[in-house]
């Protein structure tokens, strides 16, 4: 392998660097570099090629959480990052350790989550020889990382990790992998600590909107009659929730959220419409379809949000505020593109937008709410049967909407989005883009270490829970407190729902024979509870909250319930499948 030029050998370490007199091993440099980046917790699993690093760990004030599977380490780093805005760190060995990270890295990539994965690699002398536990992990992760590095020299460890953290958190955040050979960890060097500000070499001026584009955006906003704001995760990433509230209140424009944008605008605010998209409220999607202006903030017009592109909001002009220029015109052609951080764009526009009287539009949205025939499951008379929506809504009520909720992927995820009203940023962590089952429990463990004071509820399906249930051991070993609500319907529910709707009800490979989740919890030394009727919910929730350690509740919910409303894949956004049962039609809050 060709040795590329490096800072250490290519440039004198004179400008903006601190040379250290003390000698260090590469392994020590890893932990010192992480400490310098402010890392207090890492999630990892040892193995041959990373053992020198593990051997050096006790000398540093970094807490290491031993996971049970490296996928969990990547999700934990992700959950740590999403719940705090800081960079999460996962550690793994070469070969299978590194490849086990892949699902977690891809999850972080799709949802723009800043994580740094440090992997051991076989010694540089044997790279390419198919050595024991050798995998070309930089090759494997090339398309699912923002950037990755192979480090073969101890001198390169410090500058590379510094660059990796900068890359992970700058611009549109994302995962970065640093693969460090065993001999680089073992070599002894005089580390050089670069402290000069990092500047990426590429042409940064490409990314700033011109005043003319702001002028056009402001003109469109001030003259729109039926505008809707679409708030995505960019609002949360740029910490501009408060600014968005000011913007919406000043202009009087209603706000719809994407799944990952939930919490970016208070759900109980009068201008809040709710979630849009495949399982969004019918009136939200109808409002978008009737709008004459969409102001998209930090979202990427995912297919789960737009439905069929050809019929998506055809009457609307579109303003797209997005930090990543490659998202502009990718799915939806927009009229004004502001390539910018959401916060900067809102700050620029806020003084220049005006309040407009749009009573007709407000009345129309109110009518859509009233006439939209939302057959709300919460208005079901309580016949004692347990619906997932009951569980989620009761949790919302009991926790006063203040819990940090971490969800998995599937029906329960959509019910959570519909029935847990998020008023605060970083109140919901969920795998949106990649839709990774098994994400919830490890992500919640990661969040636990970033937010030690938060009440955390894991809402997870019986299928997804079993994908990473081994991390219950991590909860037990670390002595941490999580509340885990398993929405147990005995099916892979979302797939079952699609089979019911689109595959003539042939339930192929979706029924599940599950273990006894209460006994499973108890086998880990954790508290386990079960509820099968609605009147039992309050009691088990209270007992789970009281338990000193992690508690698992097995909620035996209605088995063949489906998530409504639903826009079938690639259908028009306004043509939604509604709950078929003859229920009371209401859109009122419960």
């Amino acid at each position: 392998m060709q040795q590329a030029q490096t800072i250490a050998e290519g440039r004198p370490p004179s400008r903006g660097t601190l040379a250290s007199a003390a000698r260090r091993t590469g392994a020590q440099v890893i932990w010192e570099a992480l400490t310098r980046e402010g890392v207090d917790t890492v999630f990892g699993y040892p193995g041959g090629a990373i053992m020198p690093a593990y051997d050096a760990l006790p000398g540093y004030a970094i807490r290491h959480i031993l996971v049970r599977h490296e996928q969990g380490a990547a999700h934990m780093a992700d959950g740590y990052a999403r719940s705090s805005g800081r960079v999460g760190v996962a550690i793994a060995t070469s070969g299978p350790g590194a490849t086990n990270l892949v699902t977690g890295i891809a999850t972080a990539m799709m949802d723009s989550s800043p994580i740094v994965c440090v992997t051991g690699q076989v010694s540089s002398a044997v790279i390419g020889s198919d050595a024991f536990q050798e995998t070309d992990i930089t090759g494997v992760t090339l398309p699912i990382t923002k950037h990755n590095y192979l480090v073969t020299r101890a001198e390169d460890i410090a500058p590379t990790l510094r660059h990796a953290f900068f890359t992970a958190r700058s611009g549109r955040p994302g995962p970065v992998l640093v693969d460090i050979t065993k001999d680089a960890q073992q070599a002894t060097i005089h580390p050089v600590w670069d402290v000069a500000p990092i500047r990426l070499p590429s042409n940064g001026s490409y990314c700033h909107p011109r005043w003319r584009e702001f002028e056009r955006a402001i003109d469109l906003i001030n003259s729109a009659e039926r505008p809707v704001i679409l708030a995505g995760q960019g609002v949360l990433k740029s910490e501009s929730s408060q600014l968005l509230v000011e913007f919406a209140e000043k202009t009087g424009i209603p706000v719809a959220c994407t799944l990952l944008g939930l919490g970016g605008f208070p759900a109980t605010h009068p201008l809040s419409l709710g979630m849009m998209g495949m399982h969004g409220e019918a009136w939200v999607n109808s409002s978008i379809q009737e709008a004459d202006l969409l102001i998209a903030l930090g979202m990427r017009f995912d297919d789960r949000v737009t439905g069929k592109l050809a019929t998506f909001a055809v009457k609307a002009k579109k303003i797209h505020v997005e930090i990543d220029p490659s998202e502009i015109n990718k799915n939806v052609k927009v009229d004004v593109a502001l390539v910018s951080d959401v916060r900067e764009a809102l700050q620029e526009m806020l003084p220049r937008v005006q309040w407009c009287d749009r009573q007709a539009w407000a009345d129309r949205i109110a009518a859509l709410k009233g006439d939209s025939a939302v057959r709300d499951i919460l208005s079901l008379p309580d016949n004692g049967r347990l619906f997932a929506a009951h569980v989620v809504n009761d949790l919302w009520r009991i926790t006063e909407g203040k819990a940090l909720v971490v969800t998995d992927v599937g029906q329960h995820q959509m019910w959570e989005a519909q029935y847990y009203k998020h008023d605060h940023p970083r109140g919901l962590i969920t795998s949106g883009g990649l839709g990774t089952m098994g994400f919830a429990l490890p992500a919640a463990i990661g969040a636990r270490f970033a937010r030690p004071d938060a009440e955390i509820w894991v809402i997870v399906g019986d299928g997804g829970f079993q994908m990473t249930a081994c991390e219950l051991s991590t909860c037990a070993q670390e002595g941490i407190k999580l509340n885990i609500a398993i929405i147990n319907n005995g099916y892979l529910g979302m797939v079952r729902q699609w089979q019911e709707f689109f595959y003539s009800g042939r339930y192929v490979a979706t029924p599940l024979k599950n273990p006894d989740f209460v006994k499973l919890a108890e086998a880990h030394g954790l508290a386990g509870f079960r509820a099968a009727r609605r009147e039992e919910v309050e009691d088990v929730v209270a007992r789970a909250r009281e338990a000193s350690g992690t508690a698992v509740i097995d909620f035996r919910v209605e088995q063949e319930d489906s998530v409504y409303p639903m826009v079938p894949a690639n259908a028009d956004l306004h043509n939604m499948i509604r709950r078929p049962r003859p229920l009371i039609e209401t859109a009122d809050e419960p």
Partner: protein
Amino acid sequence: MSPEMRNPDPKASLSRTFIADVEDRPGTLNRVVSLFRRRSYNIDSLSVGRTERPGISRITMVVRADEDTARRIEANLYKLINVLHVQDITDAPSVVRELAFIKVSANHEQRGEVLRLCELFRARVVDLHSHSMTVEITGCQDKVHRLIEVLRPFGILELLRTGAVAMVRGSDQQPTLEEPLGNDPTDEVAA
């Protein structure tokens, strides 16, 4: 080549030429090519080589893309950490050339005719055997395409094209970067 000889291939109108200055590191080409594969952008040709600046290589890519796709290709290239500068020179005044070797079947009776055609195209004969000739041509893609077409009736035994290299006309340099090697310190996975 005279204007009337230009190839009126309608697909040619979708063909766009990009030049990208990239850091000369192991793995950079892999990243660029992986991007095109992953996003299903169709590469017609690609060539890479060193430039006057140490540590910086120039990639010239010819890609089938409409205007919107071209903008996204540009933006996606900029997301690669090792990519320093990207320019879509399709509509810019520029010199675009490629080189081709064409091994054409020609006995001694046909040689004269092949030589005459080569002269018209300012192509050179670089190898000659009893039943074949190897022709070297440098020019824009249309010109190379046209010579291939006129030689085809003789029987093309082997054909090799380098893909286009391009440079913008005029005396301007590509923007220079204070620190062309940035802060990316490592050797990465080899392409």
